[in-house]
Symmetry: C3
Subunit: 269 residues, 3 copies
């Protein structure tokens, strides 16, 4: 089955396919990476549940005297800037230091930096400290880039950037890919993007190439959204069915539904 | 269709009807007001999800150096006193100042003041700073009123007071209205009242008259509860179906189910 | 109906049976004990919802100047060490003091002490201050015991210890019992164990014997898990159906499904 929408980009050679995404999901389930999530309180529960549904193991403490022990024994770290309180900055800084010392890859999710200049400044500061991935919605990535598009931001930060939206764009500044899966209800459930970033961190933990791991994670998450959307009556039941779909996802689901597309224009806000 | 239960109050001329409530719900969905919610951590997720399901945009940060930016760019502010920690008072005070300076209407939800004298005293203090609405359950409103009934409290504070229960009472001290919709499961799901207050704030943001907006919101929320209650197996599935119902609610649902009643005696605890 | 699995322990005389567990559940619903839960933010919502579904009344504040008022007016206290921040220690200490002064039984849940030496040390310190019950998963109880098994730990602390897993072990060091109910999805939903500890605290509040109350609670929770597991499509719908099942649980359900077993070897990690 050809997962590409035919007419769109005849010469486009995608970085991933459904089989590769399924293989990485299988690795997550087998290795059960530990993902430490420094995230906002509103998203903690769905984040932990999505990580569990994908087959990985979440932890969420933000206590200053425990963070180093948790990060050092984790396989990936997520830093989400939602509900950014002053005391969290010391925690985040120590978490990044610990991740770097222990070669634990970390993911930055600059939530709501388009609403708070303080947060935008802080996001720019830590984005320079070597994240394996920066993931935000199109508006947040635009604010972080200060005029640069997603590939430009990826080149400037020497990292992978994922700008999520109706079509997700994943890029390292040279190579790019689009994922057109997912359901409109995903924007009507709080913490869905945050949870997706944590699941993506689990894929990065088990993958060799953060670009491939990120695209694979977004494909798996989008297909889970497609499946849940078909059965849901609205955003409330969707959230439960999304976790069910992620938990039950298999290679055949991904192969049948993958919509991998050329990365054209997705970064414009 | 006459939404009034016939024999109950033949001379009662209600402030709202189903069509007006549906019109305000339509405005929420079209204008998508931003509702900043300072609320307890246990209720944050369902609060954000209910605001999204109604069609508005929630934010929940309580960081002291960000609160002014969030409130100044919001269309309504909710202050919920659950999980009231000392450092939150500075945040709440700055949020109220910012709301007043920017003419952002704010809603006070004095959660659990019947369990904590410290919290009751604090609630009385900020209730005098010009909320557009004070919403609590019957017991909380009684404690806040210190002997005054809901209309008396509304007159003393020069604001709208909503005392929720089997029948919700909404009053500004001169005009009053009762809403008898809703389902018993709403009391068996944590944060349901808090979430309802946040949705009500979204209605206040788009309405001209806070009394009418509040009654309309409580009617929409109650009808969503009725619809969810019919399909639910218990409080767990009810919570999901309630969000679905709120998301899918239309004028015909409200017209068919509205139970607008005379405000008689609902304030006695 | 004989709830014992026949061949396993012919001479085993269990401490509880299905009828006793149902009777205690009935008392929870009738007396509606107040359970104050000091718990991690990720588990707060499902904890409060499980307590409500069982028929009791949760509160979750951790504000230092309110904790004494909440604990003094509660019927049981839960102390969960997830997300342990430094300022929470003063709150926990005051909560324990208040519980002891007011004869409010308290339950310790030493979450994740196998990941954080700081937390393990703190858990050992407060475990000596007279909890009615220490509840953890098998790994956490092993770390807390420092080599002692669950009965040994119970004797050392002079309390009841519950080590949860595929089979839950409940022991006071002399008497022990196993509960083999429950569903695999319970390990795939965050906060499930924390929520179960809070429901157990409600049973302890209405029971005379903490050992019997704890075993009864774990039996009721396990049967609810069995029921939910049959209807669930995955861990997302399971969480909602679990609350439904707990809310609707009756004596016939417990009698039909109880799997009370001899306590053999369940403490080995």
């Amino acid at each position: 089955m050809n997962a590409l929408s035919g007419g769109e980009a005849p010469s486009f050679s995608p970085l991933i396919d459904a089989a590769l995404a399924a293989e990485l999901l299988g690795r997550v389930r087998q290795r059960r990476p530990r993902v430490h999530c420094i995230t906002n309180t509103v998203a903690q529960e769905i984040t932990a549940n999505a990580v569990l549904a994908a087959g990985a193991i979440p932890s969420v403490t933000i206590a200053l005297d425990e963070i180093a022990a948790f990060v050092a024994s984790a396989d990936a770290l997520l830093i989400n800037l939602g509900t950014l309180e002053p005391q969290h900055r010391a925690v985040i800084s120590l978490a990044i230091d610990t991740a770097r010392e222990n070669s634990v890859p970390w993911v930055l999710d600059p939530v709501f930096i388009d609403r708070s200049p303080v947060r935008a400044g802080y996001a720019r500061e830590i984005a320079g400290r070597g994240p394996a991935l920066v993931r935000g919605n199109v508006g947040e990535i635009a604010v972080l880039g200060e005029g640069a598009d997603a590939p430009g931001l990826a080149r400037a930060l020497r990292t992978v950037v994922a700008a999520t939206g109706a079509t997700d764009l994943v890029t390292d500044g040279r190579r790019s890919i689009g994922i057109a899966n997912g359901h409109a209800h995903m924007a009507a459930v709080t913490g869905m993007g945050c949870a997706g970033a944590a699941v993506t961190a689990a894929f990065v933990a088990v993958g060799e190439d953060p670009l491939v791991a990120t695209a694979s994670a977004l494909l798996a998450l989008g297909v889970a959204g497609d499946i849940a959307g078909e059965a849901a009556r609205g955003p409330g039941t969707f959230a439960s069915l999304y976790l069910d779909a992620l938990h039950g996802l298999d290679a055949a689901d991904i192969a049948a539904r993958a919509r991998i597309v050329a990365p054209s224009g997705e970064t414009s806000p």
